[in-house]
Each structure stands twice: as C-alpha cells, then as structure tokens.
C-alpha cells in the first residue's frame, strides 16, 4: 500500500516536501481544480514523487456540456503533464434548484442511478480516461444503498471507486451500512482515502467527515479487519487533512497506517536496490 497526502493549497507545500523527504508518504494527491491557474509544468515539477489527481468541483452531474468540455480540456493538460496514478471525482449534488449547498447533498442511490450512470459515461468520455468516484459519507438511511450502487456503477460504466474508508465508517455509524456490504467494492478498488471525523454538535449525534482529527479507533479497526482486501499491488491510500494540520500529528497517523499495511511494494523494491 502506497501512502499519500492530499495537497489542496500552497500553505502545506513545505510540509508535503518534508513528508516526501522523510519517506512518510510515497505520493501526493493534488486537489487539481484548485490549481487550474498554475502551469501544468510547474505542478509537474513541484514534488519529486508520483501524483494522484482528485477533482472537487467538476460538478459533472449538474454542469452543462460546454462547461464540462472546457473543464475536461484543462484537466487533460494536467493529466498529460503529470501522468497521474489516478484521476478521481465526486458523485454529489452541489445545488438544489440552482441554489448552492454549503454542505453537499448525497444522491438518491435508488432513484438517480440511471441519471448518474449516463453522466459518468459522458464525463469519462470527455476526460478521455477512467475516473474513480468517491463514496460519500451517508447520513440518512438511504445511504445503505450506496455499496450496491457503486458496484453496479463500476460494472456498467468501467469507472473505478475511490473508496473513502472513513466515509464508510461514518456511514456505518450514521445509517448502519455494514462494512461487509462494501467488501466487493473495496476488493475492486485500488485507490483509497482515509481521514479523521467528529460527531455533530447536537444529538442524536451523527458523524461528520471533517479531515481535522486523528484517525479514529474504529477507522483503524476497519482497515485492520479488511487489510487484505484493501492491500493489493498498485494500491494507494491518501491521508486527508484539511484543518488542524500539524506535522507531528500527520506523521503519527501515517505511521499507524504504515505499521498496518507495511512498506509499499514499490518502496521495498527501492530499498532492495539501494541495499
């Protein structure tokens, strides 16, 4: 399992360089559409490690085709320059009746499957490659339909799943989605996310994917229980931290993940050569 860190803005540039230099991470994940005004060549030279590209605001379920064509063309420039390990995106609603959510909306997995499938096919065709779509943190009970939705989506579109382990933990806590229901999705997925979460401020508590806390014990237990399903050649796991970003705290969590999964195959190869 290769470990990575999410790079969303320049504030953490020096920290990411240090994480790479000290071999705490094996790759870096750009939140790529934050950098659409930075030259692709500059991004390609930014870090001496493999790169993943994560998209936040394509809004491919809602945007009109000319907007998506333009977004895809710009994304393509970065794909060509950075040769990423993967490209990933979100299946989410950003608006309702053209009014923006500030806390994004989960799709209705049973009622919107065909709509999402067709949009996924169109979006992959425009970008010109397979895209890995992240599972969302479910809160309401309809979230239990997410695993079957993603399984079917992979089968019918050729898309991948960027499986967010801590989102699955929150969904389990919020609406009881069994971890076992995700087994086939995890087995098919090569790219993963993990992060901390916290409870809502009021009861009945729901768990929220905040990217601001240490990894929770139940997240680590989930990873350990399914370790052999997660870990496979070429697999990546991005540790996401978007707030309360302290180097020592990040490294502490990365060490837990490294201890759990061991050195990546690629890194073992590097060490064997240098020895």
């Amino acid at each position: 399992m290769r470990l990575g860190f999410n790079f969303t803005l320049g504030d953490t540039y020096d920290m990411v360089q240090r994480l790479i230099a000290e071999r705490h991470i094996d790759y870096c994940e750009f939140l790529i559409d934050n950098f659409f005004c930075v030259e692709p060549d500059e991004l390609a030279k930014a870090f001496d490690c493999p790169i993943g590209l994560h998209i936040m605001y394509s809004k491919f379920l809602e945007a009109d085709r000319p907007t998506l064509v333009d977004f895809a063309a710009r994304l393509r420039d970065y794909i060509d320059a950075l040769n990423p390990i993967y490209v990933s995106d979100h299946i989410l609603h950003f608006t309702h009746e053209e009014r923006a959510f500030f806390h994004l909306g989960e799709v209705d997995y049973s009622r919107e499957y065909e709509f999402v499938r067709d949009k996924v096919l169109e979006w992959q065709e425009l970008v010109g490659q397979r895209i890995h779509f992240e599972n969302y943190l479910s809160i309401m009970d309809g979230g239990v339909e997410a695993p079957a939705f993603f399984e079917r989506l992979m089968k019918e579109t050729g898309a991948g799943v960027l499986f967010d382990a801590s989102n699955a933990v929150c969904s389990n806590r919020n609406c009881g989605t069994p971890f076992e229901a995700w087994r086939n999705v995890i087995a098919s997925a090569r790219h993963f996310h993990v992060a901390g979460y916290r409870n809502s401020l009021i009861e009945p508590f729901i768990s929220l994917d905040t990217h601001a806390e240490a990894l929770a014990p139940d997240t680590l237990a989930f990873l350990e229980d399914f370790r052999s399903v997660f870990d496979k050649p070429g697999a990546t796991m991005t540790y996401e931290r978007d707030d309360q970003i302290e180097f020592d705290d990040v490294v502490a969590d990365l060490k837990l993940l490294r201890n759990l999964f061991g050195e990546s195959e690629e890194k073992r190869h590097d060490l064997a050569i240098s020895a």
């Binding site: 977004f71 609603h93 309702h96 053209e98 923006a100 500030f102 997995y109 809502s200 401020l201 729901i206």
Partner: protein, 193 residues
C-alpha cells in the same frame, strides 16, 4: 426519537430544508433529519460569521438576528448562494434595522467584499484569473486572485484608486480578469441572483 411525518429517507428528501431555518423548524429536534439539516445550516452560518466576524458586533454573539431573517429573505429571492453570498448579506443589511451602524463604519463593507472575492477565487472554475468587486458605498474596490503558484494560495487586494472608477449602477458590481493583470475596466456587471 420522535416519529417523523415528513419524508426523510434520503438526503434528497431534505434538500429544500438544508438551506432554510424555517423548514428546519418543522422537523423534531430529536430526529436525525433535524441534525442533518442543522449541520448544513451551521455551514452557512460559519461561512458568514467565521469569515466576517465583525458582523457579530451588529447582531450579538449568536448572529441569529442577521442569519435567520437573511436566510428567509434569500429563500424568497431564490439567491444562488454562489460567491456573491456575502454581498447579498450586505444588500439585506442595508435594508434592515442594522443599516445605520453598517454604514457608519467601512470595516463591514471591506470585510464583506474581501470575503466574496475570496469565495470566488476558491470556488470559480472558469478560465478567469481574477475578480474585481466595486460598491456604490465606496470608491475602493477589492480584487480576488486565484492560486497562481503551487507555493501560494489565493490573494485578496483592497485597492484605493487615485482616480476612482465609475460607481456601479447597483449597490455592487463586478468584472472578471482574464490574466493576472489588473489592466482593464470593461464596465461593471450586476450581480446575478
């Protein structure tokens, strides 16, 4: 937990309430749907008051005397809640009992214009590099720049021009910049709702 007569199986059932304190009040407080809606509404609250804490001086520490009526007004006008979110708060404040205190100190306007420029720089995915916001209540204007280097973030500039630009026809106006140079004035565009 109280039994709920409103649909709440999925997030989608709650979409209209996710941006409406009035609709939130229709859900029992001990139901997960209420908490889900509360989580959403808190993000609107924090997006406003964490970025423009000066506004709490007007409203009091919980912000609710601004937040609740503004959100109701925004719902009636079907505001898009795009980057101009903060500017519409200012438009509402100008029509509210807070008007005199708002206009007595330019810090509120500076904070609001800076917040909206920053939100554009964060959220816009078009090809433009910068956004200029002007206001009929000031000759200063604010520029928001997107991230232009991997080492830096977005930048916000407050500019007091030697020769003022013409005032926008509405309370606010804006124009976009196709490069990282502030070298054009194509005229003010009105805010879209």
């Amino acid at each position: 937990m109280t039994l709920l007569s409103l649909p709440s199986r999925t997030d989608r059932d709650l979409y209209p309430a996710l941006m409406s304190p009035q609709l939130c009040a229709k859900y029992p407080a001990d139901h997960k749907a209420f908490v889900r809606i509360d989580v959403s509404l808190r993000v609107y609250w924090h997006t406003l008051f964490d970025i423009c804490p000066e506004l709490l001086e007007l409203s009091g520490p919980d912000g609710m005397s601004i937040f609740r009526p503004f959100m109701a007004w925004a719902g009636e006008k079907k505001l898009a809640f795009d980057w101009s979110y903060y500017l519409w708060v200012y438009v509402w404040l100008r029509e509210s009992p807070f008007k005199d205190r708002l206009l007595a100190d330019g810090k509120y306007l500076r904070s609001i214009m800076g917040a909206s420029a920053a939100r554009w720089a964060v959220l816009d995915r078009g090809r433009n590099c910068g956004l200029v916001i002007g206001c009929a209540d000031s000759t200063d204007f604010v520029v928001g720049w997107k991230c232009r280097s991997v080492r830096f973030g977005r930048e916000i500039e407050l500019i007091a021009p030697e020769e003022p630009l013409p005032a926008p026809p509405d309370i606010f106006g804006y124009f976009t910049l196709p490069t990282f140079e502030l070298d054009i004035f194509p005229g003010w565009q009105s805010l879209a709702r």
